[in-house]
Amino acid sequence: MTNDTEQLQSTVNSVLRVVQQPFYNHPDFWIGLILSMAAIAIGVFGLYYAYMAFKEAGEAKKAANAAGKTVKIQTVTIELTEILQKLGNLQPNIEFSDAWNLLTEIQRRLRRTVSPFQKDADLGDTIAALKEALSAASKALASVRPSDPAKEEMAPLAVYNAIQDNFAAITNIVADLLGLFEKKSINFGDDDGNS
């Protein structure tokens, strides 16, 4: 019985000795602390790299979009230049059917080319003016639709007289649009260089 009490007392004493020592005197505390710090450092490092990757992906997307817009605008400027050349082909002796085909083609190509930009703050007003001029040209051409194709030669310049002013207005507006698109193209190029 006495032996058991002594043994218990000895065990309690050894536990008390361990408990009464400060925690930082225990090597396993330091091992645990160092491992935790290393884990936190790795975590922060990982987060930083994930953030950097996210940021670069965003910038790459922005650059890709800008490059896409530049290519699109360059396509538009080429198309508008071709249309300007077509507009300059209006001949004084043009017949109604040829004028109809020419205007239809110009109208179709212009509308298809500028329609994606009609809500653009810089281009919206000019595009609206273009649509108005195209409608006026269609109306002017319809006003000289021959009642009898055989009679068309009675007034060989009638078609040209009716639409030449409208074609001049369309030419001016397309030239304005071309300038605005070229300016936009240059701006996107600058953005690419800065980013």
Partner: protein, 126 residues
């Protein structure tokens, strides 16, 4: 055109208007906005009057300017013998001639409508 020429031209237009109203001139309408008189020999040629819509800059009462489509008239006298225009003018440039040329255009157009109606009446069954 100089002033004496304008007076002479408007006199001729008056005579053309009178002759048209009397049905002495056989106008044709090759399209909805053009009237043509084919002049027979000994002086073959043609007179073409065309109504055109001209885009003109107009001042607004509130200030500023706006582009508007304004009806104007084109008058052409073509000489078949020389194959050239003897007169080629637009009332956008010669605005003082516009009332007379418009009157001639209207007289020709009304005459053509009249002859169309007369023909329609002539073919109606009794």
């Amino acid at each position: 055109m100089a002033i004496p020429e304008i007076t002479e031209f408007t006199d001729s237009l008056d005579k053309l208007i009178a002759a048209t109203r009397e049905g002495k001139i056989d106008w044709a309408k090759p399209n909805p906005t053009t009237v043509v008189w084919n002049i027979l020999p000994p002086n073959p040629g043609r007179i073409v009057i065309q109504q055109i819509m001209n885009n003109e800059r107009q001042s607004l009462p509130t200030g500023g300017q706006v582009m508007r489509a304004v009806p104007r008239y084109l008058f052409q006298l073509f000489d078949n013998r020389t194959n050239s225009f003897k007169i080629n003018l637009t009332t956008a440039d010669q605005q003082q001639l516009e009332p007379k040329i418009k009157a001639l255009y209207d007289a020709a157009a009304i005459g053509l409508s009249r002859s169309g109606l007369d023909f329609l009446k002539s073919i109606l069954p009794n």
